[in-house]
Symmetry: C2
Subunit: 573 residues, 2 copies
């Protein structure tokens, strides 16, 4: 955006506490409006040198911030002067008081969320972050205090024997995002408070203590980070400009970025998905397991594996719990699932690949047919979507506000198409797919669009995939074992989120298929041996948790749904 | 045990199908009765050379087994001869029928668990493993079929136009642990069937198909693996001998070992612990998070870290989610928990250390005092113990039968002692502890015993630990910050299972403490920076899932409660 922060942007962001250093900082680290989201190719071309340079820049900035923070703290202490007889009513809480000196009743604090007009005149103690500070002259200052996404306006105003002018000064000099304890009583203003979620009430402050101070110049302004693209575009049309925070800056300062309403929503939705996933499976008799991530050999072959030394033995990080979850079926656990990290050393710079993500993995005995697995997938995901729509309304709304999306269209009875049918649908609109090859991302998207138009669903299953493009342990089809397999993928909004299949339970066939796929059978001998002692027919599937969140919410980048994403260029924070 | 398998052992194990090869195998791989459980020092002295030798031996054995399996399959096929007009009623199901040829209604199968005398004369189809085979002459054979821990006796007896003599022969020649489909009708015998869990019924077999064959000579006999030490000792006193399966053999053939009732119980208990843990925390407003296991720097310092190359950058595996869960608190997630793998490259050969285990990690904002964290610990664990005792009766009984233990003694109001009080209790019985040093395992055990005697509980909290023995991020005490800390450990049956504390939320103090602990602050700068933007007071704790299972069930080795344990010598299966 060059050097220009317009008046409107400044008013929204940091109007009253914006020091020259922060202006300088904006110029250095905020992206221009042209680079809101780095495209895939852009990410790919960021060299390590550039990354290092960026790191050095940030380090330099940090040191500057610290210096600024120190001087700021010093000046704050001087605010709270000894000549004020009401000095005990405000100030920074000394460390010793925060070191578990006094056990307290946590119910002494009122949650901001619960503040409402029926509490008029009640004395309350609240703890939260200073979201905004608006001094009005020397005798009054408005603070908006945020706790758990809810906000309330607090008024610090001079009053004889209660609130000193020094206390108002102390309030006005607080840094945004600092954490404070506010004591006061609830009042009901004549007009709604538009700047807060608790619009019917205000707190008349009597005491104000700072628990934890933020540096005065934040590397990301929460309001900037929370602003929707729609809002920014509108401002641009009106000849104004907002600060745009790009993806890399967000991730570099993730602890600030996480405080936006959208991110608070995203990670609560993620938690809820894990919960529904588990509760559904437990109610169906599944057992939760934990398989090792450190393994000998490579779990599924290929180059995309992180290798390490394990006490003198070569080892690698599991690319999936595939082998061990199947072994658990051989160990008669019947139906198992696991939620855990999955490691892929792929050089993928797309919007939907990570080097580490959270796998939701399922494996189960079947009686005769892999449709039994697909039945579980269907019921599980319908339950999941229903639950999200029902129980995460507030969170979805928070995400939608920043990143607008349409609710996912899905049917009560999930659509199932064969791979051949899918390929035919693409052919019908002039897109040729190699019949035993895989669908690329573009073809998947297109098929998703065609399916949505024809069947009115953005959630469907494609099954009977070509054998050649599935992992070695996939069971070939009974009627065309050379070309097709008992496998399926599941799509949300035209992107793959689940891969599943019947597995080979016969060790001789398993060995043959592993060899055919170029895998050194010796490296997976304990796995193959597991099938020699009577192996149940079984199948299963794997889901990427971050992808489910991303696609349910129609987000455009998986880095938005990973708490601390790992890609080929990012190993921090 | 030398070469001697007594008649009684043989009858119990493999009486009727024990070929010379298996006898040879027993002699080679089963441990002697003197080495039921290798002691810690024994484990430690197993050299890599010995491990290699063992691996070679197993490989040789495997090849022998395969040869035997092949010849066995061949002979089975010949059993099912074409001259039998009833040949369609039995036999091995060909692979093509198992490749999802025909979708089925899974409700066509009756679960063994549900078989009871009210079902007399009903036609049933069951699927399960052949647990035992007992031919009686040429015209009759008893099979005990096991499904999900429940067993039923099935009778295959010649009947004109229904069951041929060849079918009885086929049944008798099945290998144990093979999976079969049995069709027949339920009968109610005059006397209870002692050999099965469903004692009031029997199945009169009409059709018998083998779904998946086990090799005839299993490396572990399930009955041997399931036998309790008490039973074995009793037999020895009576001048007899049972096969003992040692821990390493069990783990080498984990898929067989897992099929014992005790192990089926252990891993269902483990699943239940995870479930209660999560449900409790979710109900208290916690958010489940997933933090990266691949990190730059080393999470908690020290040498016990697995290092690897991450796309050209030095990386390591997280020794705990400590830093990232704290950062999530700085990101305003409020209260978080994680269940995930934790990696420790320690050279520990004890009964309670693993190189990879499942961490249950919690972090939460506090208002003023780390007792708020201890309150959560207390309520969580009381809820957990209550739930296990109430909902896992069958599983606990299965564990107890093989590994006898007394139910855990715990109070409704958890005992809290200061570290100093604990040290004094030990001093009172003549055990001197360096006042600012740590308790060793022996001292912990002894203190557990003293506490149990004095207070009648095997679950208690020791708090206010010396600062010097806690991690750098631990908050020092307000009244003696140089020597004590706001931290605690929790013990079950005299062993530590939880470590927790208030954390330092001030970046300057955090840096100072990290430096004092010899940590290069530069390697954790993103972590320390997280506290510069207003950091909530917070605390948390970590639990080892496998330890909870082990200690609740009074087991003697953590390898019993890890599905596929990893220790310095074991990276497989």
């Amino acid at each position: 955006m060059g050097a220009g922060i317009t008046l409107r942007a400044a008013l929204h962001c940091t109007a009253l506490i914006l020091p020259p250093l922060l202006l300088h900082f904006y110029n250095k680290t905020m992206s221009s409006s042209e680079s809101h989201e780095p495209s895939n190719s852009e990410s790919a071309t960021i060299s390590k040198k550039a990354a290092k340079k960026e790191a050095a820049k940030l380090e330099k900035l940090r040191r500057k911030q610290e210096a600024a923070a120190l001087s700021s703290t010093a000046s704050n202490l001087s605010v709270n002067d000894d000549t004020d007889p009401l000095a005990a009513n405000y100030g920074d809480i000394p460390l010793v008081e925060l070191q578990s000196k006094t056990p307290v009743d946590v119910n002494d604090w009122t949650r901001v969320e619960t503040l409402e007009k029926s509490m008029k005149d009640q004395h309350v103690l609240i703890r939260g972050r200073v979201q905004t500070i608006r001094p009005v002259g020397k005798k009054m200052s408005f603070l908006v205090i945020r706790e758990n996404g809810y906000t309330v306006q607090c008024l610090v105003q001079t009053q004889p024997d209660l609130v000193s002018i020094q206390m108002v000064k102390f309030a006005a000099a607080l840094s945004r995002e600092s954490i404070v304890d506010v004591e006061g009583h609830v009042s009901v203003p004549d007009t709604l408070v538009k700047a807060a979620t608790q619009q019917e009430v205000e707190v008349q402050v009597r005491k104000l203590y700072c628990v934890s101070r933020a540096v005065p110049n934040l590397p990301i302004n929460i309001e900037d980070a929370a602003r929707s693209e729609v809002e920014i575009e509108k401002a641009i049309q009106e000849g104004e400009q907002f600060v745009r925070v790009n993806q890399d800056t967000r991730l570099n300062f993730r602890v600030l970025d996480l405080r936006t309403p959208a991110n608070q929503g995203i990670f609560r939705i993620q938690s809820q998905i894990g919960n529904v996933f588990r509760q559904f499976l437990l109610s169906e008799g599944f057992v939760e397991i934990h398989t090792p991530k450190l393994i000998a050999g490579s779990s599924e072959g290929g180059a995309a594996v992180f290798r390490l030394d394990y006490k003198g033995q070569p080892a690698c990080l599991a690319q999936s719990p595939q082998l061990h979850k199947q072994m658990s079926i051989c160990g008669d656990l019947g139906r198992v699932f696991e939620i855990g990290p999955v490691f892929r050393a792929e050089d993928s710079y797309t919007h939907r690949h990570l080097c580490e993500f959270t796998g939701l993995d399922v494996e189960m005995e079947i009686k005769k047919h892999y449709f039994e697995v697909m039945d579980i997938v269907e019921r599980l995901f319908i339950a999941l979507f229903d639950s999200l729509n029902h129980n995460c309304k507030k969170e979805l709304e928070a995400v939608r506000k920043q990143y607008p999306f349409e609710p996912l269209k899905y049917l009560r009875q999930t659509l199932r198409l064969t791979y051949e049918e899918g390929v035919q649908m693409l052919k019908d609109v002039g897109i040729e797919i190699e019949p035993f090859g895989d669908l690329n991302t573009e073809a998947e998207r297109k098929l998703g669009q065609l399916v949505s138009e024809k069947y009115g669903t953005e959630f469907y299953i494609l099954y009977r995939y070509p054998l050649a493009i599935r992992p070695f342990y996939t069971m070939p089809c009974y009627d065309n074992p050379a070309e097709y397999s008992n496998s399926f993928d599941v799509f949300i909004r035209g992107e793959e989120i689940i891969s599943g299949a019947q597995r080979i339970h016969k060790p001789d066939l398993l060995e043959k298929r592993a060899e055919a796929c170029g895998i050194d059978v010796k490296t997976i001998s304990t796995y193959i041996d597991s099938f020699r002692y009577g192996a149940p027919l079984h199948g299963g599937f794997g889901v990427g948790l971050e992808r489910v969140v991303m696609l349910f919410c129609g987000l455009n980048n998986i880095r938005k749904t990973s708490l601390y994403p790992r890609d080929p260029l990012r190993l921090a924070p």
